[in-house]
Each structure stands twice: as structure tokens, then as C-alpha cells.
Point group: C2
Chain length 310, copies 2
Amino acid sequence: MIERDAIRVFAPATVANLGPGFDVLGLALDGPGDTVTARALPTGATGVRIASVRGASLPTEAEKNTAGVAALATLRAAGVDIGVELELEKGLPIGSGLGSSAASAAAAAYAVNLLIGAPLRKVQLVDPCIEAEGVVAGRHADNVAPALLGGLILVRAVDPLDIVRLPVPEGLLVVTATPAFELPTAKAREALPSEVPLSGMVRNSANLAALVSACYSGDLGLLGRCLFDDVVAPARAALIPGGAAAIAAASTAGALGASISGAGPTVFALCHSRVTATRVAEGMVAAFEAAGLDATPSISPADCPGARRV
Amino acid sequence: MIERDAIRVFAPATVANLGPGFDVLGLALDGPGDTVTARALPTGATGVRIASVRGASLPTEAEKNTAGVAALATLRAAGVDIGVELELEKGLPIGSGLGSSAASAAAAAYAVNLLIGAPLRKVQLVDPCIEAEGVVAGRHADNVAPALLGGLILVRAVDPLDIVRLPVPEGLLVVTATPAFELPTAKAREALPSEVPLSGMVRNSANLAALVSACYSGDLGLLGRCLFDDVVAPARAALIPGGAAAIAAASTAGALGASISGAGPTVFALCHSRVTATRVAEGMVAAFEAAGLDATPSISPADCPGARRV
């Protein structure tokens, strides 16, 4: 059952939180992502070895790298005791708020599962990827689930895992702008309040609930109104030069709504036409430039595939 | 345009919160409710006069009674300056967690609007009813919106009002058990935490989001798992003798899920068959009896009409 050929897998960038869905919502982009090549080591070898990391400075000890942890956890979940060598090509900048650690984990888990004859279903790879996220950013699934499965995913619970695929309104586009500024996830997490006012919980949960409703009903006006988050986003926006201005610029340029992508510093906006999306991307980039930061824009459909063989 | 005949309107009981949807979700029941009869006073008279209140001990000053406040606010919203007399028949016990104050407000607002030739759409009566709730229980719409409009309503925001009607899975039933124990809403609100842990916000908002998804997809298993609330409900359950036991009994008897209705002490459960619903009602009543309280059960479809002329 073990593939002798190398398996090469791509997993995409993801936008987590989507405004009010802190730790709960995430969606896959079609833009850049990470690529993992997995090979079986000669019979008798065990464990995971990371042969190379290109495109970023990351540890090559398997236990300290989300690709390595996800690969090890996938082998364990499948009950397969072979040795695997990984090559990791980082297409995503670290600390950008685009789910870089999740993309590595998702690509590695999916590649290893294919390498051993695909004994696990794709959804069963989410748990190994959550274990990997736990090493760098806490046990959350809002990046790894869409990085694996594609589309827009709602994470009801992590332990035990309970996820729901949400429908994506047709034609919806996601614009991102990633400033040249690394915001370590750990630092962004430190900025979070440990407690939130009950009134803030009510507002955020109402917006999240209405966002889910808008995904089913296709009410784009409602979808845009729901992207607001005044509990988690303000603490993070303060860490991102130009972040609040970029979000404001997106709205001015006609976006349905905008907020911080994951832990930031990337900001994202939802749009429903290519013309608007282009204008929004320009506005967000200009706002970062006004704060002294170059920024890289992307425009992606909101309903993109997850990890796949390349 | 002013009706000379008396207008008699019924508005139903409502279950607010529905587990994780504190201040955000509510649905109408078909069981008991409040009835308001409105009559125009002779030309020249202005203001609202409450001629009688039957079935409960409530103030008859219009400004202190939600029926009176809603009637006054409806006249003001319509810009009609006539005098109105109301008779209020309380079919709902006060402080029961079944939206008693909301039913009075909804019935009065709808009756007065009909009396003056229905210049306002039904949804425009929600604001006058929120004003009425503000007098007794804070400005929230999770009872008044379903009491007026029927069905299952999501309140995204109160100021300005932004509400969404959610689909109700076919055949879904709501079981309630109301113990003979008054829990003033003000006291139940005092028991609320002013701050909640961020992790609690994430769990509650994830459950609420998944509950909305389950309403659209009809996934009843998911719907049941989502009724859990460990932020608001525990503080309130502690005030209700037998409350936690009644919720546990509902699950044991096969309910999809159960929680406190509004501020309590009524508990509710969702079921998808009449046989289960009957067993659940018996189990909840027995749990209250074991705590020394008589309890009144009801079984209602989950998709019931709101305020209507009778």
C-alpha cells in the first residue's frame, strides 16, 4: 500500500475569523500556498524527517514544524509505522495572517495520507493538523479545516471535532492585502482580551449567526453588515500599522465589508464584483503605503478547493 | 381611517435565547398568550388608558405596563394623535421566561395599528415593542420580534433594528415546562456575568452559528448539539430549583437538546416526534416535582404564527 513515488501536495492560504467568527470560521483562497513533497524512507526507518524547507526560515526538526507534526500525527492516526521524508516549499509568508502554519500542516497530512494508500478520509486529517497548530498557535481548526477541505468551514467544536461546511454565495470574492510586516501569531494572541463584556459577546455572536444565515440565503447586504467585530479585532488592529485605515479604505471602495484576516496583519474584504474587488485591493494597498508599508494584494473566489495533489 | 369597533388581538408566548442565542434568538409558541382589546376613545381624547388587566397583577398606568408603552409608541411611530383604551387579558404568567411582557406589548402594538388603519407594517411594530421591553426588561427584541412576526427570529441588532427570519426544520417541536415559581426578569438579569471568558464567547458563538446552519440544512443532530450554553445558562439555572435536573431529564427522555427559556424558570426542549415530546414533557415535569415544584407542560410546533386578530 505504500507509494514508492514521491507525492507532491499543495494546500492554500486561508482567511480565518472572517470578522465575528474568532476561532470559528475560515475559508480557503486560490492564491499562494505551501507545497509538501513526501517520500517513503527505506523499509525499517520510522519517524518523519524534514529534508528541506525552502522559502522561509523554519525549524527542520519534525516536532517543531507544523508539517512534521501533522505528518507524524497522520501516521499515528492511520496506525502506519513507516519512515517519511518531507520537502517543504513555503509559498506563504510566516506571521501574515494567511494560515501559513496551517497550509504546511494540511499539505503534509494530505501528502502522507496519500503516500500510505489513503487509509484516512480527508476530514479525518483535520485532527492531526489541529495537533500541529497546537505546537505553534494553539489548538484551533479555523485555518486547517479550510486548508484541507476547501470552501468556507464553520468549526463548532475542536474536542471532539465538529465542523460544518457552509454554502458560499455565488460570485463572492475575497480581496486580501498583506503588508510587509510580520506579526507573530503568539504576539497577536497575547493582545487578545481574556474576558469580554457580555454585551460584546452578544454583538459578536449575533453578527456571526447572521453571517451564517446570509451564506445560506445569499443576502450580500446582510453578509457585509455582519463582518463587524468589536471584541477581538480592535486589540489586533492596534498592532497593525495602517490596518484600520485599510479596512476603512475597503468599505470606501465599495466592499461589502472588511476585517483582519486571522491574527493579521493581512486584511481582507468581501466583494461581489471583479471591478469593485480591484478598486478595493488598490485602496487597501494605498492605505498600507500611507502607513509606510508595502503590501501585496490578492483577489480570490470565496469558494476554493483545499489540499490537492500537484 | 380610525376603526370604531373594538380590535381584539392575541400574541403568543415565546422562547428566547434557545440555548446559545442570548438576546439574539427567539421563537413563537402556539400555546397560551396575551390578548389585548383596543378601542378608540371619543374624538379629542389623547393618550392610552388601560381600562382593565385580567389574569395578573400589573400596573394600569400606561407608562408602566408594556401594553401601554407599546401602544403609545405605536401611535407615536404612526404619527396618529388619538386616544386609545386597552383591555389586557394575561394568559401568560409573569416572570415565567415565556415572554409575558413581550406578548402584552406585541398584542397592544398590533391592535393599535389595526385600530388606526394599519399605517405601519408588522415589522415596523418591533421598535415600539422594544421600547416597551425597555421599561421592564431591557431593550431586547428576542421575545417581541417572534411574538409579533411568528416563527424563529434572529436579532442581529436592536439599534438600528436588523432581524432575520430563520427557516424552521419541518416537524420540529418545542416542549416547555413552567414551574410554579416566579423568577423576576430583573433578578435573572442580575445573575448574569458582566464579563465572559473569551473561550466561553467562542464556544457560545460557535454553537449559535452552527444552530443557524442546522436550521437551514435540517440537520437535527447538529441542532441538538448546539443548544448548549455554558456562559449565561449556568448562572440562571442556579436560580431555578429543579432546572438543571429538568434539562437533564429532557435529554434522557430523547430530546434533541434542552435549555432555559429566556430568563427562566421555564425550561424548553426541542424534539422531532410527538411521542418523544410527550415523554420529554413528562420527564421535565417529574424533575420539577422532585424539586418540590408543580410544573405545567406544553408541546408546540416550532413554527407558529405571531400576533393576530381574534
